[in-house]
Each structure stands twice: as C-alpha cells, then as structure tokens.
Symmetry: D2
Subunit: 246 residues, 4 copies
Amino acid sequence: MPCGTGQRLPRFSPDEPKPFPNCGERERIRRTRAAEFGFNDVDPLNLLAIEVEAGPDAKIVPLSSGLPDGLFEHDGQITKREIRAATLSALAPCAGERLWDIGCASGSISIEWLLRHHANQATAIEARPDRAARAARNAAELGVPRLQVITGEAPGALKGLVRPDAIFIGGGGSAELIEESWTSLKTGGRLVANAVTLDSEKLLMEAQGERGGTLTRLAIERLGEVGGRRAFRPAMTVTQWSAVKP
Amino acid sequence: MPCGTGQRLPRFSPDEPKPFPNCGERERIRRTRAAEFGFNDVDPLNLLAIEVEAGPDAKIVPLSSGLPDGLFEHDGQITKREIRAATLSALAPCAGERLWDIGCASGSISIEWLLRHHANQATAIEARPDRAARAARNAAELGVPRLQVITGEAPGALKGLVRPDAIFIGGGGSAELIEESWTSLKTGGRLVANAVTLDSEKLLMEAQGERGGTLTRLAIERLGEVGGRRAFRPAMTVTQWSAVKP
Amino acid sequence: MPCGTGQRLPRFSPDEPKPFPNCGERERIRRTRAAEFGFNDVDPLNLLAIEVEAGPDAKIVPLSSGLPDGLFEHDGQITKREIRAATLSALAPCAGERLWDIGCASGSISIEWLLRHHANQATAIEARPDRAARAARNAAELGVPRLQVITGEAPGALKGLVRPDAIFIGGGGSAELIEESWTSLKTGGRLVANAVTLDSEKLLMEAQGERGGTLTRLAIERLGEVGGRRAFRPAMTVTQWSAVKP
Amino acid sequence: MPCGTGQRLPRFSPDEPKPFPNCGERERIRRTRAAEFGFNDVDPLNLLAIEVEAGPDAKIVPLSSGLPDGLFEHDGQITKREIRAATLSALAPCAGERLWDIGCASGSISIEWLLRHHANQATAIEARPDRAARAARNAAELGVPRLQVITGEAPGALKGLVRPDAIFIGGGGSAELIEESWTSLKTGGRLVANAVTLDSEKLLMEAQGERGGTLTRLAIERLGEVGGRRAFRPAMTVTQWSAVKP
C-alpha cells in the first residue's frame, strides 16, 4: 500500500519478451492485478523486481508521520493528525525498535510507529474489546498486521511483555501507570504522554518535575463554519510530556 | 546515519571464517570503522550485507517527521519541530516524489522530505546566500547531499525546474508566488504554506477561498521559566494552508 | 438593582422617631419594600436618603465590566463575559458619552456601557426583531431602560442618529459598514470590532492597516468535562480591532 | 480625574452674575484652575455644583475595568489590560466592599477596584518595598489615595486586617496562602487567583477541585512585528481560578 514511484509502466501485453533493447534474453515483463498474481510458469531460479502501481481507488499512505484521520476507522477517540505527527516526532522511532501504546483506542500511534520501518514492533494495550478489535482491523487494513493487540487494563496487562524502546500513554494514565512504564522502559527509551483532562495535566506536570524531559502544549484550530461562513474551530488543547530515560 | 537495529554484533576478529554454524564456506564477517572501509581483498563477484553500528557520539536520526531542532544548524529561522511534523504530514511525501521548498532557510523541510525515501527529490530555493549554504551543509550532514539548493528569489528562480509533486512556502509568499506555484504543481500535488505575519495570513485565507483545501492554526507553548519557576512560553501561532491540486 | 453597601440597617418599626441619638427632631427612618413605596404623609419640603437593601433573591449587578452571562437573556448569541470585559475596556466609556452598538444581539455591550454612568447613552441596532426585543427586555431588567433599540440593518439604519463617542461592531460587519462607522464617529472616539469568521478577521486586518489602532486575539478556555473528568473547553478565538479616530 | 461630560461651558468672566436667564438672583458661575481654587469670598451657607473640565494634557480615566497599561507606573510586572478586565469581572465589586490584593505589584487591581465606587476599600499587600511604594504612587496619581498599602509577606501580613469581600492573589501563592485567604473571606465573598507558572496552575487546579468555583484560561496575542511586518505576539497564558465562598 505504500505509494509507488509514480512512474507508469508502458502497457505491454503480458510476458512480452525483450521489451527494452537492453533486456536480457530471458527477461520478461508481466503486468497483473495483485489478486490474480500467479507464477507457476517461471524458472525456479529467478530474480523478481516488482513495481506496484496504485489502482484508481487505492488509499495512498504517505511516508510522513501524521496520516489523515480518515485513513483510520475510529469512534471519534483518535489522536488527531497534527497531534499524532507531534507525538511520533517525540516518540522518535528507530529501525527495529519496540513501542508500547497504552490505551491505544484506534491504534493510530502504534500503526504509524510500525509503518516507519518493517523491523519495528508494537504492542497496543486497550481495555475496551471493541476498540482493541478496531485497532487490529486498522493495522491489517494499513499493511501492518504484525501489531500485537492486547485487550486489558494497564498497568496489569503490561506484565510479561518484552521491554520497549518507547512508550506512549494516550489519555488518562495514573501516577502508578507512569511509574510502571518508566521502570519498564529501556535505558535511552522515550516516554511520551498526552493529556486533555486537568487531572492528567497535573500528573504530567508532576512527572516532568520528578523525571525531567519537557512539556509542550499544542492548541489546534481547524477550518469550520459559523452561520455559513468560514471560521476556525478550536480543538481541546493537548499537554504533552516527553522524556528520555537516562 | 539512520539508526541501526540496535542488535549488537558479537565482536569477532576481522574476517573470521564461518562465524556461525550455518555460514557458507566462503562467508566472512568483518568489523571496521566507516572511515577505514577497504575491500581490495574480496572476490570481485560478491554479495555484501552491511550492518551499521552507531558510535557512542553518533547523532541518531529518527524515522519519524519532526526531527529535533538541534539536529539542524540554524540562525533561529527554522520551522520548529512540532510545526515541521505537521507540515510534513500535510506535504504527505510518497516514494520518488519531488518537492519544491520555497524560502527554505535551514532546509529542514526539504531534508525531512528526502529522508522519507531514498528515491525522493527536493529543490530548495533561498534568496540569502548564507542561508542557502547552510541548507546545503545541513543536507550533507544529515545524509541527503542530493538536495538541490538554488540561491535566488522565487518565483523567478522557479523557471525551468522540473514540476513538483509538492510545494512548501515557508513564510511570506505573495499572491503571485502562490499563483505560480499552483500552476507549476502536478495534478494531485500538494501545496502547503505556513504564515505568521498578518499579510501572509490574509493571503492564505484568500488562497483557501479561491482554491479550496483547508486552513489550520497551530499554537505551541514550550516549557520555559519565569523567575526561576517552570512556565509555558508561547511561540507565535502558525496558520497553515494545505490544498491538493485537482 | 446596583448592589447596596452591605451594611444592614437594624430592623426598626416604620417611622420610629429619633432612632439614633444624633438624629434631628423631625428625622424618621422608614423601611418598606420597593413595590409598596408611598410617601403621601411626609412634609412637602423634605430631604430623602434612600438605602436599598437587596432581597434574598435579588440579582446583584456588580460595578465592574464583564457581567456574568447569566444576567442576560440570550439565545447563545452573546459576547461572552471575558470578551465583554475586554471589549468594554477598549470602548473606554466616559461619563455622558454615547455608544452605537451595531448588531447588538442580546444588547449586553450597550447595557454595560449604560451601567457605567447614569449620563451615558446608547443606541443598539439589530436586524432581527426578536433579538431587538430581547435587547430591550434585558435593558429594562438590568435597570437601563433608556437604551434606544433600533430594528434595522446597518449602515442604512444609522442615518440620522446622533454622532457617537464610541462604536462597537459585534460580528460580521463589512468594509462599507466600517467606513460609515468611522466617518460617523466623533474625533477622539473609539471604534471597536470583534470577529470570529475568517472574512471578518481579514476585514479587521485591513482596517487596522488603513486606519491604525491595534489588533488583539483573545482565546478563552473554560472549565468543562470530558468523560466525567474536568477539562478545559476552548471557545472560538476572537480577533478585536480597536482604534481611536484622530 | 474621572472624565467630564464633555459639555464645554461657555467662557464667562469669573463670577459673572445671572449668566443664564433662569439663574437665581444670587447665583454665580466661576471658572478657575483646580490649583488656584479659593472660596473665601462666598456666603458660608451655599450650594456648590462643580463641573470639572479636562485640560489638554489630562489623563482621562475611563469608567470601565481594564484601564490602559500605560496609566500605571510599572516595572513590567503588571496584570495586562485584558487580563485585568477579566479579573475585575470575576472580583465583581459592589459598592462599599473591601478587597485584599495579595502580591499587588503595581497596584492596578486594587486601584481599579477602588475606582468602581467611592465607598470601596482595598488593602494591597506587597513584599518588595519598591513595588509597595510604586503601588501607593499609582493610587495617588489615579485619584484613589485611600488605597492601604502594606509592605510584607502574605499570609503573615494578613493578620489583623478587616475581613474582605473579595481577595485577589496575583501570582505564585501557596496552598497555605489559599487556605488562609479562604478562611478570612466573608461568606459570599469572591476569591480570584491568576497563575502563569506550572506550580501555581497545579495549585489552582487543586483549589478548584476542593472548593469549587471555575477555572478559565486566557491566551492573548497582541499586534507586534516580525521583520518589519505586522504579526501577533502571544503573551503567556493565564489560568484563573474564581470561586464564591458559600
């Protein structure tokens, strides 16, 4: 699903031999739909180059963080595009790293983490079974079915999981959860937590005071309408704590 | 410079044969510093797998958009981390696409565009020669020396450039520049423009009215100090216009 | 209705003579309810001192600008408390001055203008008859029935009105309305306009560019709830232009 | 200093008898400068009507809350105009009421409280002697020399003061100070506290949780410049707690 190069192949008849002057003698170009893929008739020893071309209705998934909200199935409970972009920026994924996404809702943060590198891994923890199922569906739909989804309540549900390089706490949280998360995190790992309620904000102020890192407030206004005229509609301000475990 | 998998190789003596039981007869593992790389003594027909391991002072460049401001050399004139993350989200790079970064300053937007895929291309246009030179230095330092930097004033300097898939206008801009940019953009391409001054804001409101797309306001507060105590310091609000050319 | 001194009178029986040692021989104190006021039995040549004492359910109207929203009957269309306080601050009423409140909605700005001094005058212009009637009701209820309410569309409805010392344009407005208002304003008078839509904002940016004065953006978040927990709910940002006619 | 009616008197020679047709026989009009006021030559039994006319350089003090910052002498430490307007709105002064202004800095809140009614009283507490002196100078200059200024640290300095109808805590504060203030406040009195630091914000969130009332965040951007062009400059966001003692 990651988008193609945009360079369109000329439309050959299937398996036309020597399509280009500098082709090898036994080189072939074959065009087919992904659903009709079949290679029973090729030499067992072969080298394949695959170029994916998007169909007219393909959902194109860009390579930057902060995918359009509409790419995810959600119930309104989703970290919005710009906040998600800033969150991934703070989570700072490197190749092969592992994320815990605690209270994952639609799974958008985990999914974007996984999309950054094929070797990345993520565990999404979600108390509500319907949301957990939705996160798994989103992961499958967006090409990262390797997302591990755990239905359960953190911090209990974190027991026995492989220690992560980064942890995201999406909403709520508690002093106990932050404590457990910080302990579980690898040295050099990043903890990022977003808050919109007052109690969560207070918690993050305290966490920053104890463990360092930084706090940021993000206030986003989006184009909407008032009485048929264009006007900015403010979203709730998000307070973000981001810290690297020393 | 993109970060490694974190899986440390055991420290073999150089070129120890058959380090693992399932190695081929002629397989070797060699460890060396990048600066001392030399392969005069290997079979001309060979297959190499390279695993890069970061040194202790390596600058690690994460895989998400919105790199730390400190990774870029700049004179204060830089699109800040969270705004950069939201900007890359709106620019939505796909593999092999080309960006124009008009008024590139430190080059951070172009550089992040290029880092998203090895096949991406970018042209950065900057009127001030010192800033143009700095953008080129940043690109080299961050592993994307293929950034094309043009010292000159847009829209004049845009003449003759290959048509882009996306255009970013960092600050200021004019009705004429937006007009020229929109015309140059490929169908399906994205135009993203950020404004902090009133005249630029007005321009973007007008552009959205004429050409559609959306407007967003991003207000960021960062942790700072007042009288020795922690306090949020607000940055100037950024208004962003983002539109897809139909 | 303006609140009393809080110093409670001792409860005398009506017309007790010489209630205090230093009273004059013919001095009386009488306590009665405002609705039962009657003075047929006093000397035609008299001096009255009236002390108003609030009943238990009295709506107390404080002396500062920015009265509670709940003191006004409204349909949601009301300049909110903090914005109203900042607007009155910019309108800067002096004793005996006259305001035009164009697009008055609930009439709250006019009413607060009148409450600042008994010699102040105000004309409220409102296109919707139901709102005009409501503004008049609010004025009567809050003790300033002298508010002149005109049902009509500005600038047409402004013809023939006495020139004002201050003008407030609540929402919307047009280049023509600003032009007419500026012309009608006395030298040294203040024009204050608030905007929430993009087109109005653009208009105010242009007005400030042409005629000077200042622009302010006011973003207010109020305590609300998210999922049963305390959270700040943002109101739409208001852009305010305020200028003194030279 | 409160501004006049603007109705200019015709310039009579001093003490011209019967200036108007309907004057009494012994009525006089006299024009003089305030500094040269002298009435040794009038009947000991007299009735005076004084009309103040502002000189050309008079500082006019409007009747609404939120006076221009420039009317106060200050060292940068002043509650800004719009925030002051919203603060007075929350303090909601009634005639004859008393305010404690804790950490008064320039004294602006106390002074505006006193200006709302001649019977109002205010005590300003300030730890720094230079600021206390400045608050007293501002009070004298703006026509309310009855402001009581106490140099000292709250809550210690509050001992023995007459209980107030309203308390303002301008910055900082502590759990202890809020506790003492709440206890000192009369039933039905208002406590308003503004915070810009994180620790103060946390304190106010806790205070609201315990004692009710409301919290508001006020973010103000003012017109400034960037590179010679008009741009909004954000001030630090103020969090305000406002509660009525039940």
